[in-house]
């Protein structure tokens, strides 16, 4: 390794190390959550494509442009600030599509407009964030050093390039000396308007149109030197000297050739308009990938597209903002080490439209509801406790007063603890319920109605609220035959709904999450109720919207639950996981059959929970659960239910035991 390489390595900053920091930095300055995503370099085949869509920010996977770590971190900050600038300074609200449609050279106009917008935004950045000027100067100088020379270029590309270099801080005199000085001076004067305080995106558009008009004039003048080519050589000379008239060569990004493109690109695909509502999406701007190929070339972008679609099947309305994502390590038991930032967890709100869900639960389990309430009511500290001999309180403690008077009369020191006060012991519990929403929870349970209609060997009739009714209707009429079969997930939802009601009575702070996913890049974490949420009809609807989805990557979901519980100030934190089988995902281990990998990762995640002061407990509706649960957690920390109908009752028992 050379000394330079070693130096670069020492200063390198990786996105995975600063993801949350950058996300917080961006949210603070933008005033909204922005999904900070990594772009892959062209060298890795990613095409270096990114979108400025108002919802996300794209930064490199790592930056090692500078030897000092803080300078590379500063480059990340500049990338975020610049791309936020598109949002704050109104770039994304501008109807660029309309502007381009009217112009004969849309690619040229877009290129010039993009350069002017970068100038405008960076000038505004310097005013708005004076503390970032040093970093911006450094990043601009680095980007400028990597730009090509303009002398070998033909006139118009040279002028466009010179304008870009001017935007990166190149000296005006030096540029004019190398590139059609008089005309460039005119273009720079026109462009400088956008650097003034108060300049708007429309000013960039006007300046871009004027610059393109000047360049157009230049194009028209150039061919006059070759009026009538008569020989192949003259045609070739004409072809070489003339500017391209189809302006395709301006389709490439300004950023092409930059080792570190901190500015992002004003480019998009047709789907972006749907996502953002912005006009840029309709602008038909360039893409690096051919139509039909995997667009942005980055897994993040693909995941970001997938996740909202995934939510759509269970969401009543589109989620206003895109799902947030979090990176978590994963334990690779084969290597006996953590895989850094291995799983991306997308957190999204569940929204449902079944506002009668809780009514259905109550009608299905009237007796069970009462039982759970009674069970929890018995652990609620309802009574006041009289605490005697306190230094202050509601009333004087007669015994204390008598003793104090005696002490005084006998010349002893008198005790000042003379009062009685009433105290009520408070519960200080935050509990998270993490529900497996994997595809297997779609498994239909046996229909009790069929059993009840068995004429001969049928067991004695169950009481009205026996467990059988958990998955069957009450109605014994023939219409009951048409009752939809209840599934594992339905019973889990009923159990949680009953828990919600009981916990509300108890006053404990609680949250209900679901998890599923499809691969390590798309672990879904669904929030039915978060800790700060009040219990509303929408909460019941969200709970009702829990549906079977895909795989069971339990470790990442547990780690995200730990993160959320860690923010709770409660003295006691509880994580109860309700699942119906062992952890599995198609890339959870060497292959889908590698059960041990998922089990070991889950075990490790549960250990992390315990280290974080969280009491965890696994309830599994899987008769074979003993095989893997005993390797995942201590015997006192799991429960296997072979009869799913017992879940509501057992869940309440477990909670009571854990928190009493």
């Amino acid at each position: 390794m050379t000394a330079t390489a070693a130096r670069d390595l020492a200063g390198r900053v990786c996105f995975t190390d600063i993801q949350r920091f950058l996300s917080l930095f961006a949210q603070g300055l933008a005033g909204k959550f922005l999904h900070v995503k990594v772009i892959e370099s062209q060298a890795t085949g990613g095409g270096a494509k990114r979108f400025i869509d108002g919802e996300s920010i794209h930064v490199p996977a790592d930056i090692a442009c500078f030897s000092a770590r803080e300078h590379n971190l500063g480059a990340y900050r500049i990338a975020v600030l610049h791309q936020i600038g598109y949002l704050i300074e109104g770039t994304l609200e501008f109807d660029l599509a309309g502007l381009l449609q009217q112009h004969p050279r849309p690619a040229l106009l877009r290129r010039v407009f993009g350069t002017l917008e970068d100038m405008r935004i960076e000038a505004a950045m310097r005013r708005r964030y004076p503390g970032a000027r040093v970093d911006l100067d450094r990043v601009q100088a680095h980007a400028l050093a990597l730009r090509p020379q303009t002398q070998p270029m033909r006139p118009v590309p040279a002028l466009v390039e010179a304008l870009l270099q001017y935007s990166l801080g190149a000296a005006r005199d030096a540029l004019q000396a190398s590139t059609r000085g008089e005309l460039l001076a005119k273009l720079i004067d026109t462009a400088a308007v956008v650097q003034r305080q108060g300049a708007r995106v429309a000013d960039s558009a006007h300046a871009a149109l004027r610059i393109c008009a000047e360049l157009g004039n230049l194009l028209r003048r150039l061919p006059r030197h070759f009026v009538t080519p008569t020989t192949p050589e003259e045609f070739a000379r004409l072809r070489d000297s003339m500017e391209s008239l189809n302006d395709d060569e301006f389709s490439a990004s300004d950023a092409a050739g930059l080792a570190f493109d901190y500015r992002g690109q004003l480019m998009t695909d047709p789907s972006a308009k749907r996502r953002t509502g912005g006009q840029f999406a309709a602008a038909g701007m360039e893409t690096h990938a051919a139509p039909g190929t995997v667009a942005p070339g980055t897994r993040d972008a693909a995941d970001a597209r997938d996740a909202p679609h995934a939510a759509a099947t269970i969401a009543r309305a589109p989620v206003a903002a895109g799902p947030r994502s979090f990176l978590y390590d994963e334990w690779d038991f084969h290597r006996q080490s953590y895989l850094s930032a291995w799983c991306r967890v997308y957190e999204q709100r569940l929204r449902g439209d079944d506002f009668g869900f809780i009514g259905g639960v109550r009608s299905r389990h009237p007796a069970l509801e009462k039982e759970v309430r009674r069970r929890f009511g018995s652990i609620k500290p309802l009574s006041w406790q009289r605490v005697r001999r306190t230094s202050d309180g509601d009333e004087l403690d007669l015994d204390g007063v008598i003793e104090t008077v005696i002490d005084r009369r006998t010349g002893h020191d008198a005790d000042s603890h003379l009062y009685v006060r009433r105290d009520r012991a408070r519960r200080d519990v935050s509990a998270a319920f993490l529900v497996d929403m994997s595809a297997s929870t779609d498994f239909p349970l046996p229909d009790p109605a069929a059993a009840m209609t068995a004429p001969v060997d049928a067991p004695a009739a169950q009481p009205p609220d026996s467990g059988l009714y958990l998955y069957g209707g009450h109605d014994e009429s023939p219409a009951a035959v048409s009752t939809p079969k209840r599934r594992v997930i339905d019973v889990a939802k009923d159990a949680l709904a009953l828990m919600c009601e009981a916990l509300q009575t108890l006053g404990d702070n609680y949250a209900i999450y679901g998890f599923s996913g499809d691969g390590r890049h798309n672990v879904e974490f669904h929030v039915a109720k978060d800790f700060p949420d009040r219990l509303r009809s929408s909460t019941w609807a969200a709970l009702g919207a829990m549906q079977p989805r895909r795989s069971t990557r339990m470790g990442a979901a547990i780690r995200h639950s730990i993160t959320k519980l860690a923010r709770e100030p409660a003295g006691m934190k509880v994580l109860i996981i309700v699942s119906d089988g062992y952890p599995e995902d198609h890339d959870y281990g060497a292959d889908r059959t590698d059960r041990e990998y998922g089990i070991q990762d889950t075990a490790r995640a549960l250990q992390e929970a315990e280290r974080a002061g969280i009491v965890d407990f696994c309830i599994t509706i899987d008769p074979a659960g003993q095989d893997y649960l005993r390797r995942m957690c201590a015997p006192s920390r799991y429960l296997i239910i072979d009869d799913v109908t017992a879940l509501p009752r057992e869940l309440s028992k477990v909670y009571r035991t854990l928190t009493s």
Binding site: R20, F21, L24, F25, Q27, G28, L29, A30, G31, K32, R77, L81, R128, Y129, P130, G131, A132, D392, G393, D394, E395, L396, V401, T404, V405, R408, L418, Y419, R421, R422, Q504, G507, N509, P532, R534, L535, R567
Partner: protein
Amino acid sequence: MDSHSAASRLTDEPWYLPLADEVQIFEAAYRARLPVLLKGPTGCGKTRFIEHMAWRLYRESDSARRSLELPLLTVACHEDLTATDLVGRYLLSGNETVWMDGPLTRAVRSGAICYLDEIVEARKDTAVVIHSLTDHRRVLPIEKTGELLDAHADFLLVISYNPGYQSVLKDLKPSTRQRFVSLVFDYPAIEIEATIIAHESGVNAALAQRLALVGEKIRNLREHGFEEGVSTRLLIYAAQLTAGGIEPRRACDAAIARAVTDDAEVQRAIGAIVDVILP
């Protein structure tokens, strides 16, 4: 005694920059002796506002109430504060017990303004004594002495609470809430907040403007463990540290980043926001 009562003689006018028509509404409420509820996040100026209004109503030259020594009695409510703490209790003095008025009783007798800050933190039995003072009866029942105390004609009850971080269990009941005229406060707009920062700390207007911008940006992170955002009070602290010779970024670190959160990553992000905004 549990309560942290703070009485102010209000000899000097507390500086307050009105954000809207809150001064006029409060004066009108006082004229009609309507109890007032102040809602708003911590450190947004609720206490300063009530001090300012007490000065206007009790200390201005044309006020008939200038002779009252303690025009404002403030009680910072907490979870162990009971009705007894507000009303009073018997103390043992020598060989006998003597009754000691609580701050609420003192205000009711003297005709002062009683300001119960963060009332929802107090125990539920405080609502009992509040209710009879906030309707047409204007009486304070003192259970332990058997007294039914008529409120002084100048007495006014003002309470505050912060809906931002109250849980379901600590909400103000409608039966209490609907006895008050409500004034809603929030952190002021940047320009006004900059004026407040500059006035309270003595830093120049440009730095005050930058600090106000810092406040606005950090409040965008309030969902990350500090629901209240950063208060105007903390921004003033940072400015005061700066005016006292501390480097502005260090002052913001001590007064803001470390104060609002213990999350190291959030502190780091706040530091970066401060870093790019300050010159």
